[in-house]
Symmetry: C2
Subunit: 833 residues, 2 copies
């Protein structure tokens, strides 16, 4: 339990699929009730109008019509997208502005104290520690969901799972303020992951706000589409890269993408990027709209054909580096989780871990100390600008010849070669970034990785420039090598390898404003992806696995087994089902034995013809209606009345109405309790607890009769009339291939599908089976199907059996923890926890 | 019939959905038989090996193992993609090379004859007429499917419909040679649409070729994924634009896109673009790898913020222009189709239409004639290069000051202003391109539209430059306006408007090698799309409608009705179904009355529980098995034997075997005939024809008995044991919204889905109903749901009722035409037609 608590605040919370399902149900319930209210509100206004036939009735009707027209306009997608883009551009700009101020303040303090090195060190170290600690504490108190990147959660949400608490206003506030402080500290953290989350939060809140005017905002599938567009806006306004933003968000969050959303994303991201850059122009930071990290490489001869092997080397090395980064990041999280002693200590002082990490990192970058060997003086942005510089630092292998102007001076050291500085920078920043991204503050890993990649590219470029001082081109003009171009290639390749995306290439072009290196960049990114994808999951998938979010892994590239494995090989043949003519006792038994969230409804046990599926909760309410307190009370009342009638005849017409109302109230209160008890009942095999707690308040002489009554009730046939049945659950056939099943599951966001044979139910496949089959622990026709590097991949995470039992435990705990919340879904409840 | 024939050669063939289905079935049949053969082949090799235990048996086994290993490698996706990229780069380069030679030859002829204007004119006009006529004739003879762009067909194929004849080797040859000749003529045609088709052809042929080695190439869903990658390769190697190629192909061909294909597309397109450009370097055309149409705009201040309204104007105007282009193109096709007199004349001389159009266009561009006012001397490529030039043509509103060097000289005319030249160029090229793309040769419309857009942008840019000679920027340095930037914006906007894509922006960056104008380009493209999409379908959708390809229209942007219409509003309640215990007579009746390609199988007429669906063809074969010739013959034989036995007892053991073989042969021959007859039987209500033709050869005395026997057979219960039943047809619920239905249909490529209510079949929705509902001719709750500009959109195409009857007619004809082909699917058959 302690480890759990730690993991909750430390970096990652855990979510089981069942929790998501509960959140979904609750969200559906809330939405429904909200809809009903708003409809009744509107109809009331109209009623009032018709009633109030005073002098300005016409005038009012006209107003209402105008209002209606405006509302219908407000419902248009493009208005929503423009508002979203505008809002996100403002947020991005304000955040950037605050970060710049924070960083400037640190520099100012550090510069002002240059008389005393110790005071300088104190100022250099204390400032980030305070900021990070504040960020961690603030986020922890206000909304722990704001911790981390947010892209894994968005990926899960876009797959159809509702993680409700992820899209609230409190999370928004926590994420924005926490992110500003975290980045203001100068730690190697990025803003792009959190911005995807912030944009989604914005979209969700805006959608909620706009639903006050129109009805269309209550549609779930539309909201998901808008969230997809919001992800694009998030990346777009963060880098002023609309195209790259759209593509990156697609690659990172979707498995199947609707091309009509693509349009939405482009529209909103372009508008957002435009406003973001216009704000910079208005603020006199820029003369006109240009790229964020503008480069000035020569256009006529960007690179020679013979330099391509060097670019390919950057790509392959970045691939290994990216995989290593993901592995390192996961290793750190798991190391901290596993060490019981560290755990216990850190848990007591929750803010100690962030403070310690920050202290370590900022001590190492202290410019007069070790920082002088790794350009510690520069902020992330400054180092990127210097790395992309189009001049060569090391001519003839000697650094002397180059006059380091401005920022670039930080890379120069009197004793040490520029190559050593670069290598130290790469190595130190590599583990620092992997460590820093485990701090429980809102932060992304894209930008740090991008900078490391640029440094690596620069290193290769400078080496090439030292090797071939006059360039490689043999005939005619001399075209010297441009190390800045190598930096661009390296940045795209490493960030592509870590995130498993190719659109970092596009982001790089938009960030630098030059596309001349397109082919080297594409080649390096593709090679890096090929290497990294065969070694490790992407950073986001890795986090999804650690957090145990309900997500389906991707199919590997070019594994033919997937076409040969059939559903019949992986399906569970022992399906829990109920029949049309079953009794409440059968229902009860099925609910006690299984843990599936939906149950199949078949015509009869002989025919096994699948009619539909019913959610567990529905069956539980059926059972509680039949056996629950209201009916008990009624029965007792009936018996009492009969008793009374036998004894004396007392009639009071007015009290009859009163008692009826009272009994209704009781019923509403009790039903909730009953449900939660039945829920808990499943975990205890002792199914009489329900009866027991009801019996306490009842006179002992009736106990036997009630037990009798219960037996009678259980033997009755179930009445499915008021039960919500899903009449068309998704069906597969035995011969459906794993590949197709995966496609269908990810296309439709299913979590289970029934396997039928000519209408007869013969099995069920759920996400779990599919995941197992894809991860390679299924045996088909005597052959162990396992992706080539699966063993390496799995080494970090627990095996599937452990996972299952862990899920089981979690599920039990969540049930007892989260169910009471269902009755009081107010925000005060969350605060008190 | 005449009109049909014309349309077939003139521009567009017609395809009904049913035709596609037949093709699919046939393809499946062929594939299956092929598979069986290859399996037996392989097993035979192994058998031989084990049998041949000679001296080098080990050696041979080793060879076989090596071969197996190689084969497993060949199955890898990346090898396929590299081969595809390489092949397409070569094809693209060779085609470009040939086109360049053709164009040079025309210039050489024209230049050599400058003593005599009449001879010059003859040479200028005859050359393209001959080339286009050859192209049209060659394509017509070899493979009429190669006509046109190919993108609409690829869109349909990627949706899951098999247009088999579209991916054959003959089509490949016809397309490549036809395209080279067509573009070599210098007509305003493009190569990008055909290249999408060529790449898909390449992929299909390569896949077929590779399937000789491995088994994985026979998987259908994999082939579709490879086709999607091929489309990206097509665009990528045409423009050396890998990113833009991938995005354009996604936007143009897909509704839902699997992100894993994105990776494949990037990989193949990058490799292809790389090879394509490397070939240019090797051929000494270029010094190193650069963009195709490299621009040299200044980097430090690409444009002023205040120029943005001008860019927005370009966008909006391009939107209207794009819609007009699509409308004009469709108008021309429909005009030619409708005019009976023209039709009859053109039909006789099939190659007259292309020749006439070419004559008209080349006469108007004759440089000493009208061509001098519209830069007629320049080829498409040359005009694009000059339009993207970074110098300003018109300073101070007067053209004099600029020294027109090289190609740009063509835009200068001694009497006429450069603005007039540009306007004339735009207007003339606009209708010429719309006309030229209706010629029945392999050609696309992207490049001509791109050039027109660039000219329009240049016009606006030159006007701005004339208006603000010192630029707009107020303080400090003077930044003159760059008209070339406007040309880039215009090109992207107009091509985006015609194709309804935003990725033209990316293509433009990759083509010019500069990304500095990203925001103006994005804004203009988005505005152009918004305008064009609300006025007209895209060019490709327009062609799909004209060709009546089985494709589902897109949902409009932001129409909320789609969430309110339910399946119950649009479904067909009168479903044709068969029951488990039905007789052959019922089967017969159902087949006679309906035209659906699949029939629902329910448990019984009372319960109506849906068990699955059966294809029409399956039922037909069931019926023919029961009533067909073999059983008749058997019956007759039986009767005869009985008769004979009664008369005499003659036994011959050896002839018994022979007769058995003979009867089998007969059965195989006859079954095909029977099926086609039953097929035809449906169109004639006279269902006794089958019996009639059988009775001819049978002695008249048995006629009555056979009729009796038939009645008996019809009353038997159907035996579904050998029938292929789809046990899980897709099911919807009454409350499913139109939006969701559309999503599911396009996601899964369905063409019909059953509507069930708790297992009971209550209706069916097919593509037709969905299409009708989306196009707005459905009435829901008293409100006519109709997109705002639907009336304008529909004006060109026929109404849905007409369409239905037309389809019906076509269906009848196709059946009688295409079915006999089923028995002789050899290539000689196609040639003879």
């Amino acid at each position: 339990w302690e480890g759990e608590l730690l993991s909750e605040w430390c970096m990652y919370g855990r979510y089981t699929q069942e929790l998501g399902v509960y959140a979904k149900e609750e969200a559906a319930r809330l939405r429904e009730s909200g809809q009903r209210r708003s409809v009744s509100d509107r109809s009331r206004t109209l009623d009032l109008l018709e009633y109030d036939k005073g002098r300005c009735a016409k005038c009012r009707i006209c107003t209402v019509r105008c209002q209606k027209f405006l509302i219908s306009r407000v419902g248009e997608d493009w208005i929503f997208l423009i508002l979203l883009g505008l809002l996100m551009a403002l947020v991005s700009w304000v955040v950037d502005f605050c970060i710049a101020i924070c960083l400037q303040a640190q520099k100012w303090m550090y510069g002002g104290l240059d008389s005393n090195v110790f005071l300088q060190y104190l100022a250099w170290v204390t400032y980030p520690v305070v900021l990070i600690t504040f960020s961690a504490g603030f986020t922890q108190i206000l909304a722990p969901q704001a911790v981390g990147s947010g892209i894994p959660e968005m990926k899960t949400i876009l797959r159809g799972v509702v993680l409700k608490e992820y899209l609230t206003f409190k999370t928004f506030v926590a994420k924005v303020i926490g992110l500003t402080c975290a980045l203001g500290s100068g730690m190697p953290l990025g803003k792009e992951g959190p911005f995807v989350h912030i944009a989604s939060l914005c979209a969700a809140l805006l959608s909620k706000f706009m639903s006050l005017f129109g009805g269309i905002y209550e549609n779930e599938s539309r909201n998901i589409e808008m969230l997809a567009a919001a992800c694009a806006v998030g990346v777009g306004c963060c880098f002023a890269a609309p195209i790259g933003g759209v593509l990156f968000s697609i690659e990172v969050t979707s498995t199947f993408f609707a091309v009509r959303n693509y349009w939405r994303g482009f529209f909103a991201a372009t508008f957002s990027a435009f406003i973001f850059r216009v704000l910079a122009v208005w603020n006199r930071d820029e003369e006109t709209i240009t790229a964020l990290f503008k480069t000035r490489f020569r256009l006529d001869f960007p690179f020679d054909l013979q330099e391509l092997p060097a670019f390919a080397v950057i790509g392959i090395a970045s691939g290994f580096g990216g995989a290593l980064f993901v592995y390192l990041n996961r290793l750190i999280v798991q190391f901290i989780r596993k060490q019981k002693a560290i755990n216990r200590f850190l848990m007591k002082k929750r803010l100690l871990y962030p403070a310690l990490v920050t202290l370590l990192v900022s001590t190492l970058t202290f410019p007069p100390g070790f920082g002088q060997f790794m350009a510690g003086k520069l902020t992330q942005k400054e180092s990127l600008v210097t790395l992309l510089d189009n001049r060569t630092w090391a001519k003839q292998g000697i650094a002397e010849e180059f006059d380091y102007i401005g920022q670039s001076q930080a890379w120069k050291h009197p004793q040490v070669n520029v190559f050593v500085t670069l290598v130290l920078f790469i190595v130190m920043k590599f583990w620092m970034s992997a460590l820093a991204t485990t701090i429980p503050v809102p932060c992304g890993a894209f930008m740090p990785v991008f900078v490391i990649g640029a440094a690596f590219g620069r290193l290769v470029g400078e080496s090439m420039a030292a090797w071939f001082p006059d360039g490689i081109h043999t005939d005619g003009t001399i075209y010297p090598i441009v190390p800045g171009g190598y930096a661009v290639v390296g940045a795209a390749a490493l960030s592509g390898a870590v995130t498993h995306t190719v659109s970092t290439a596009v982001i790089v072009f938009e960030l630098t404003g030059q596309i001349s290196h397109i082919l080297p960049v594409m080649i390096a990114v593709i090679l890096a992806n090929a290497v990294a994808q065969s070694l490790q999951p992407s950073l986001y998938d890795s986090i999804i696995r650690i957090k145990k979010l309900p997500y389906l892994p991707e199919l590997g590239w070019g594994h033919h087994e997937y076409y040969n494995i059939r559903v019949e090989d992986i399906m569970v043949r022992d399906v829990r089902y109920i029949t049309l003519n079953c009794t409440y006792r059968d229902l009860h038994n099925v609910l006690l034995t299984g843990h599936l969230k939906t149950l199949a409804l078949v015509e009869s046990a002989e025919s096994m013809i699948l009619l539909g599926s019913i959610e567990r909760a529905q069956l539980q309410s059926l059972l509680s209606l039949q056996l629950g307190r209201p009916r008990r009370l009624e029965y007792i009342k009936e018996r009492a009345t009969a008793e009374k009638k036998r004894l004396s005849v007392v009639s009071n017409p007015s009290s009859d109405d009163g008692s009826h109302r009272a009994s209704q109230e009781v019923r509403f209160q009790v039903r909730g309790h009953c449900r939660s008890r039945i829920d808990r009942m499943e975990s205890h095999p002792f199914h009489l607890c329900l009866m027991g707690c009801n019996l306490r308040k009842i006179a002992p002489q009736t106990t036997e009769r009630i037990a009798e009554w219960e037996e009678m009730q259980l033997d009755e046939q179930v009445n499915f009339n008021n039960c919500k049945i899903d009449p068309a659950p998704f069906q597969l056939v035995e011969r459906t291939s794993l590949h197709k099943t995966h496609t269908i599951f990810s296309l439709l966001g299913l979590d289970h599908a029934y396997v039928t044979s000519i209408g007869r139910l013969i099995g069920v496949v759920s996400l779990k089976e599919l995941r197992k089959a894809i991860e390679g622990s299924v045996t088909v026709k005597g052959v162990k199907v396992r992706p080539p590097l699966a063993s390496f991949r799995d080494s970090g995470t627990s095996s599937s059996e452990n996972e299952a039992t862990e899920l089981h435990k979690l599920w039990d705990r969540h049930k007892s923890m989260s169910l009471p919340r269902e009755h009081t879904p107010s925000e005060s409840d969350e605060k008190s926890q």
